[in-house]
Symmetry: C2
């Protein structure tokens, strides 16, 4: 590849390389699908550091111009965005944003992109069987009932729903939540509750309140990628504690906390994402003790409490929280439908008052129309009815998936039956990389969520997550059969 | 005040002071409304630095336990929150969050609180005439029409509205926006647009993308407090450029940029908040040039474009943006109703792609039900009809306010007639502090928004903002008469 760099120019070399490569692609000198030189080789031929080339490739990847495949190299994307060389065009008229982005942004957001892309491109394909998502089934959505509740909320509360509101949320909803939470054995007052746009926003607010760059945050390894994204973007030092069939390894946590202090611990004790495990009762109690002794704040994410298929296995940590040290989050996105975008944070007043200020600075307050409708929906008993139906359907799909796995998967892979939630975790033998299985799967029409999407550091627990909630019965059987064939081939 | 500090304890002295004062208040030894010692005096008697006492008072203020009045001192709040001493209670069971909050939080969120409190407590009082808010009138809300649009959107798009969505927004809405924006003479493609939860979220996302601690951000002085909050929380170095009757002083901006570089400039060129000025056409062009020459990114907030009472005075800056360097935001909160919480960002792809990642990390995506309903509302012509009505009502209220001001205000105060928007700015002679007028006004039943709420550094332009949109005609006349009496008394 011929690239001349102008070392006299003020423009950083990595941006010059980025812009020249984009130019070659735009002129058709580099075709979609073709492979770029290895970073080491290009660095050598241009006489720049390898890091400079890595940065240039990263910029191209973020712009959707190239795509990197671990162990295979970088390729020009098949579908190019329009005007690809524009950020580098040389006219004086152009505003160049490159080099102006914050270091926080650069450190946090670039890495996760490429794996997600592998899956999301594939999911747009209607022939693809996607086991990647942890979404509920849209055909189960209580559309008519929710529409009625929107109407009656608009009639009942009138222009109150359209006015600007408090960052805390719609008062009738957060005053109702203690009743709802009492059914989870969490006893609380409405003063300690705020409404947010999904658990993702809850995590973002809590992160902003507590995390300074370099602070240690402990997560389960593997964990929910959205949490990782938040803490990484705040430049936290993220540490992963392994998860086994009883949940997070509290013994390892204890050892880690003996050697170093930490500010926050993020945990999903029930139907852990992505492993679907339930933290045992002994470990729940010990986890609370350890964190109290070490003054580590627990963030408990209880996103799917009601989606249990075999009754309640364990109370939330928050139910045992005598010292008000746990920040408890839950959501209506999983138990109702994702588009509702309504979750809550339950925390001590000293924390909540500050979260309210950050919420206000983030987006003032959450719209109240949906909060009113959700309250109607729950008060009229539609939520209970909906949950009953959901549990039955998901349980059936889990059973079909398990049956198919028994039939088609080789003996070398292993799994545990999830007692609720939206997905099945599969452990792979250490010799096999889930990503290579994913790439083969994509060719044959099945995608899933591989370990590295959920991984804090190295992924010591190799495997993948299969969502069953959103997949029709016949597709589950077919998808598992295809995956089984791939696994047998790879393991041989 | 008798306070013993334990210098051997690990708990920082300022937290000990905070907790002891809270204890005195809880035990009734310090009564609501009573005055606390001056920080300097208390520091002397406790033999600690004054800063330690300032920090302790700040903590008490954030917790809503005391309130500070500039030039008057600190007082125990009249309405105390429940369990005020709890964050400092000494039982071993308690998780202490104090000392764990991030420095970003400590630096940014504490200061703005107290002024806001003065107003918002007063606004809860039904006998109070509030000219403080810049809210639209709830009685004008098109409740029935919007309810119908919610229904038809639910029917038209079905479960699409309840599914999880793209961080970019609901596709039919952002594909419609170029049509909507063309009426503002902004020509763009839907690829460059994303939907956010209000301009506040837009600012928060853009801030996170560009601002590192210490980066310079230029704002109009005075400006929208929500923008200040965002940039301060990111620890930006905020610089204010004065605003006169033709908008931001571009000559001063040019001088400032000769001496120092800046990353962002945030401007509200039309119906500037809080001064209601319209940036002149000459200055619009010069502003774009200066920012391009200095590689300063312009964030244009065009929150109320359609609320003009005398026709369009000037095109948005974005309409002249040949180099794609302006990030353009607008909102449906002011032109429709605040509870809609829907705004947009229009920006170059290299910026937008990154904002989408930050949006995803902040709250995944914005709910689509309201996006669908808004689209229906606009396509069916209800938005135009609603705007026509709003312009007439607001214009009439502005005229009534101006007439009352002519009649009741002393000659020493001055103002300009706003050509649109939601509020009237009043300039005070430099001898008078708007806050002292506010405190008197509150006693007599009128509140407004004083200069310091909007002030970047010192408030060189003293005065206050009077909202007219949300106030009934008879209340406007009465409120202005009371204010006039206070002003005459203060100026004598």
């Amino acid at each position: 590849m011929i690239i001349d760099l102008d070392r006299a120019k003020k423009i950083p070399l990595y941006l010059q390389i980025r812009s020249k490569i984009a130019g070659l692609i735009e002129k058709g000198l580099l075709q979609p699908g073709s492979r770029l030189p290895a970073t080491r080789d290009l660095a050598g031929s241009l006489d720049v550091s390898r890091n400079t080339v890595v940065l240039a490739y990263q910029e191209l990847e973020v712009s959707g111009i190239i795509t990197s495949q671990v162990g295979k190299g970088s390729f020009v994307c098949k579908h190019l965005p329009p005007g690809i060389s524009s950020p580098g065009r040389d006219t004086e008229m152009t505003m160049s944003f490159e080099g102006l982005f914050s270091t926080g942004w650069m450190k946090s957001h670039a890495p996760l992109l490429s794996v997600m892309e592998q899956i999301s491109y594939a999911e747009d394909d209607p022939d693809m069987i996607s086991l990647a998502s942890a979404l509920p089934d849209r055909d189960l959505f209580p559309l008519g009932e929710f529409r009625n509740c929107l109407q009656s909320a608009m009639r009942r509360y009138g222009s109150d729903l359209l006015m600007s509101g408090s960052p805390r949320g719609f008062k009738p909803l957060f005053e109702y939540l203690p009743l709802f939470l009492a059914r989870r054995s969490v006893i609380c007052e409405s003063d300690n509750i705020m409404i947010v746009n999904g658990i993702q926003q809850g995590l973002s607010l809590v992160g902003q309140l507590f995390v300074d760059p370099g602070d240690t945050v402990i997560l389960e390894n593997l964990t929910y990628p959205g949490a990782l994204g938040v803490f990484r973007s705040l430049q936290a030092n993220c540490i992963g504690i392994p998860v086994d069939s009883d949940g997070i390894r509290v013994d390892i946590l204890e050892n880690v906390l003996r050697r170093r202090s930490a500010k926050l611990l993020y945990t999903i004790p029930t139907f852990q994402n992505p492993t679907s495990t339930i933290l045992s009762i002994e470990r729940r109690k010990r986890l609370i003790e350890i964190c109290r002794e070490n003054q580590v704040i627990i963030i408990e994410d209880d996103y799917a409490h009601e989606l249990n298929f075999e009754g309640v296995e364990a109370l939330p940590l928050k139910a045992w929280d005598e010292c008000d040290g746990i920040i408890y989050m839950g959501s209506f996105s999983e138990i109702l439908f994702p588009g509702i975008r309504l979750s809550w944070i339950l925390a001590s007043r000293s924390v909540l008052d500050r979260l309210l200020l950050i919420k206000e600075s983030s987006d003032l307050y959450t719209n109240r129309i949906l909060q009113g409708a959700l309250l109607e929906f729950s008060l009229r008993g539609f939520l209970d009815k909906h949950l009953k139906r959901k549990r039955l359907v998901y349980r059936k799909r889990r059973d079909i998936m398990l049956e198919a796995m028994e039939k088609h998967f080789p003996v070398e892979v292993s799994w545990q039956k999830p007692k609720g939630g939206l997905f099945q975790w599969v452990d792979l033998p250490s010799t096999i990389d889930a990503l290579s299985v994913l790439l083969k799967g994509r060719e044959l029409g099945v995608v899933f969520a591989p370990d590295r999407m959920f991984s804090v550091e190295e992924w010591e627990r190799g495997g993948f997550r299969l969502g069953f909630a959103d997949v029709r019965e016949e597709k589950i059987e077919r998808g598992i059969r295809i995956l089984g064939d791939i696994l047998k081939e790879v393991i041989l």
